[in-house]
Symmetry: D3
Subunit: 74 residues, 6 copies
């Protein structure tokens, strides 16, 4: 405890970035709950297909996400 499940669009984060994500999220959680919880802290990353995610009915593709990353989308 706790369980941290992260859902994201596929093809956005590299393996190195995902490893960093696991480290940072685990550390963020341990900073709150205390170091004794570290071995109980589970992180699971789940990827969904490009386009299979929407805000307000508008699909986000992997390309859209890269555009957001580059600051091309408000």
């Amino acid at each position: 405890m706790p369980l941290i499940e992260v859902k994201m669009i596929e093809g956005v984060f590299t393996t190195a970035k995902k490893q960093e994500m696991i480290t940072r999220l685990t550390d963020a959680m341990v900073a709150i709950e205390g170091e004794s919880f570290r071995p109980y802290t589970v992180v699971i990353l789940e990827e969904v297909r490009s386009g299979d995610w929407a805000f307000g009915g508008k699909s986000l593709t992997t390309a859209d996400v890269h555009a957001i990353a580059e600051g091309k989308v408000a």
Copy 2:
């Protein structure tokens, strides 16, 4: 808010059908909660592998789902 997560067997719905699913589910939710919630309404579609879904212990494959679609299964 809210978050609508839809799980389905892979290979059943085309990209166009999935886009229509996002639109219809978002519209259905906005019809209840009010138009002001549209930008907060998130839809995520998740596909699982053929066979990795069961009712009453009986697996459903992509082929089974197509058979249901064609009305070949009660």
Copy 3:
């Protein structure tokens, strides 16, 4: 198949509204997949506590959601 899981903040929707939500989401899904899928279509509504939901790090309370509903939040 499919499974539609909806997460929302508690205390926002009445029992009647939630029943309407189940009906509309089921109908939206059946409109896409075909009537033969109706008995296989599962909807589960899950409520989280007021404040236990955030966009961009900002918590949403039940009161915030009512304010959005009344159009008081952009």
Copy 4:
């Protein structure tokens, strides 16, 4: 009701093992709730990518899981 969702790392279980998993989990649940619940018992298996799972910030790969299976990891 109920819904049993199982998450695991991809490439660990064969199709035959996953079918056995569905059977055993369904039977375990029916043993508790009663045989009349069998048709309502849903099992969904979901696979995440090798490395996308962590305990205490340490990633588990498909290879790690095979090592555990062989008793090479405490």
Copy 5:
């Protein structure tokens, strides 16, 4: 690994039944994956409110579930 999440309607299973559920589901999984996976096997039970679950658009209440348990529903 793996993670077994079970969703059910609240007020159906007693604390003792839920403990039995955890034991049986863990044992079922370990029977497949091998005893060395036992410490990695996580079970989480989640309850949703009466009525917040539907098959084919028809809500299931806690009372409906008790009726199924007693064999009063086909």
Copy 6:
């Protein structure tokens, strides 16, 4: 995108601690993906009942979690 869902046992974290959790997890994610993703980053906290969580078939109660927090459990 992304969605961070955190599951925990109820009664462990105060409202203030949960707000801190939202802030730290959002910041951890934004540190990886870039500031432009902040408004798209969703965090949902979900609490399950005391005892409804198990590692290796052993239930964790709220009391057990407090004992872990105090370093009384290895």
